[in-house]
């Protein structure tokens, strides 16, 4: 399939370009503008160069938030990707069971993010929550408002509960695209179910898994609403992730300059890691014998 060479195709892209540019480029320029100025009030601003970048890069609390963020995103990927694949493998291939599973699975994805937080507050509170009360009854103390570990556990549970379905849906899409003949050939060849997974299903899912890893990485790295509702970043700073910290600086303290510099660095980190993941997943499965 050979694509046509024609620059007039730009006319088709133009509406998208305009609408996205309006929402992306102007605000981005504003952010860049802020990041190199000190703003005292309307019309009162001074050019400060890389001052804010230096300040932000030296901020100890930001370093802590960054490491917390990496730990969180890393755990998210480690748990959600394999779990999502397992669920996709257990889903029925056709019939009413397939439709029913798809609908049920997609349910958590369609709940507004702050409601997700609410659901988990209600579910894990030691006084009224099923989960919190059960754990406490088993003799362990559990309170995500008091213990950092408990807050993390709650947050991980919530995140896995919320987003594993997306990975499962994508993996399921990948699995459905594998022609039946592959499974038949594998049976004739006497392949074990592990071999089928390793040599047929996993390689054929590479495309959708790339999308899944990228989406999950980006979104978990940007997480804001759920921990904000659940813990507000606490107890202490134990669940203060980058977005929460950023909003604290920008809105709470109204330090626009550092917040803007912070935003740009944040954006670049995501860009860099997304690119690395993309490259790694594209090359995975190419160099083996």
């Amino acid at each position: 399939m050979e694509k046509w060479q024609d620059n007039r195709a730009w006319f088709l892209v133009l509406p998208v370009f305009v609408i996205v540019a309006f929402s992306a480029i102007i605000p981005l320029l504003t952010v860049i503008n802020y990041s190199v100025q000190d703003i005292f009030g309307p019309g009162q601003r001074v050019f400060v160069g890389a001052e804010w970048f230096k300040e932000v890069l030296g901020d100890k609390r930001l370093h802590a938030a960054l490491w917390r963020q990496f730990l969180f995103s890393g755990l998210v990927l480690l748990i959600e990707i394999p779990l999502g694949i397992i669920i996709a493998l257990t889903m029925p291939k056709k019939g009413w069971g397939a439709s029913a599973s798809l609908v049920t699975l997609a349910l958590p994805l369609l709940i507004p993010w702050n409601v997700i937080g609410t659901i988990w507050i209600i579910f894990t509170r030691p006084d009224i929550g099923l989960f919190g009360a059960t754990i406490n009854k088993l003799g362990m103390s559990f309170d995500h408002t008091a213990s950092s570990l408990d807050a993390w556990v709650t947050l991980m549970l919530m995140e896995v509960w919320h987003w594993t379905p997306l990975v499962a849906l994508l993996a399921y899409a990948g699995l459905r695209a594998i022609p039946e003949a592959y499974y038949q050939a594998a049976k004739v060849d006497g392949a074990s179910s592990w071999s089928v997974f390793r040599h047929i299903q996993l390689p054929k899912m590479r495309g959708v898994l790339t999308i899944a890893v990228l989406l999950r990485f980006m979104d978990s790295f940007l997480i804001y609403a759920e921990p904000f509702v659940l813990t507000g970043g606490g107890p202490g700073n134990s669940t203060t992730f980058l977005s929460i910290y950023l909003v604290k600086i920008a809105v709470g303290q109204f330090d626009l300059g550092p917040a803007a510099a912070f935003s740009l660095i944040y954006f670049l980190i995501i860009l860099l890691f997304s690119w690395l993941f993309y490259q790694a997943l594209q090359n995975a499965g190419k160099g083996e014998g």
Binding site: M1, K3, T104, L107, F131
Partner: protein, 267 residues
């Protein structure tokens, strides 16, 4: 039996997954006093009082209408603009095509928190603050690139020869696109609409920042009312349950498209 083991694992997962939602439903059918007094696995004296309160208070139900309105506008804008663009990316090579495609995707990675303040200023300049269109536009930032990305995948699955044949047969571009091409990727359009709806419906940060009263989303209404009434758990749970319903309805209506879209192997 292998099949039974699979069904068991899946059933177990769904059971765990639905528990928190069930718990919220349980809470929503009880009064706040009842919730705080006794711990119960199911409502002993189920009451709809929380729901009645929501449906009789306009600050509650208008939140719903606001959310549904801006989400629908956003889904519509995303689809209408993304369809031709995705077609261009799947069919043509043109100056800067790869760069533009990548640039579009990077917007999916921009932290919403980064754009809060500039967005507020931008939409203030145009006098759009607290309008549905402002939120719909703001959500285009991540939904339009996503829609282009998904649709491009579906369109690349349609052989280019179909287009060539149609043009030779004398179809004009717009007639070909509307009567032949879009029906071919119907399932893909369904899946795309689903994802646009989903990401716009669940987003709160931008929606809350750009609205004050007239276009305030239901999810934001929830947080406000909670702080005002001092944690009425029953009411909060009822509002939460109600925010799930539109999403559940949407999945129900697109479920066949989704199954088909997934069978085409593109998402």
């Amino acid at each position: 039996m292998k099949i039974k083991k699979r069904a068991f694992i899946l059933g177990f997962y769904f059971f765990i997954m639905l528990l928190p939602i069930y718990w919220m439903l349980n809470m929503s059918l009880r009064t706040n006093a009842d919730i705080l007094n006794s711990f119960a696995l199911y409502p002993h004296n189920p009451t709809l009082s929380n729901y009645i309160k929501i449906f009789t208070d306009s600050s509650w139900y208008s939140g719903y209408l606001n959310s549904i309105l801006y989400v629908s506008i956003n889904t519509l804008i995303s689809l209408i603009t993304a369809l031709p663009a995705a077609y261009a990316f799947s069919r043509y090579r043109f100056l800067g095509d790869k760069q533009v495609f990548f640039w579009l995707l990077t917007n999916r990675m921009a932290p919403a928190a980064v754009f809060l303040l500039p967005f507020f200023q931008l939409y203030s300049t145009f006098g759009l603050i607290d309008t549905h269109i402002a939120v719909a536009f703001a959500h285009c930032l991540f939904n339009v690139p996503l829609a282009v990305w998904i649709l491009e995948g579906f369109m690349s699955g349609v052989p280019i020869e179909i287009d060539e044949t149609a043009f030779i047969d004398g179809y004009g571009f717009s007639r070909f696109f509307m009567t032949i091409f879009i029906p071919l990727i119907r399932a893909g359009v369904g899946v795309t609409a689903f994802f646009c709806f989903m990401f716009s419906w669940v987003e709160l940060l931008l929606a809350r920042t750009l609205t004050t009263t007239n276009a305030k989303p239901i999810a934001a209404t929830m947080t406000r009312t909670v702080s005002a009434t001092g944690l009425d758990w029953g009411l909060l749970a009822a509002a939460g349950i109600l925010t799930i319903i539109p999403g559940a309805l949407v999945i129900w209506f697109v479920r066949n498209h989704m199954a088909k879209g997934f069978a085409m192997g593109r998402v």
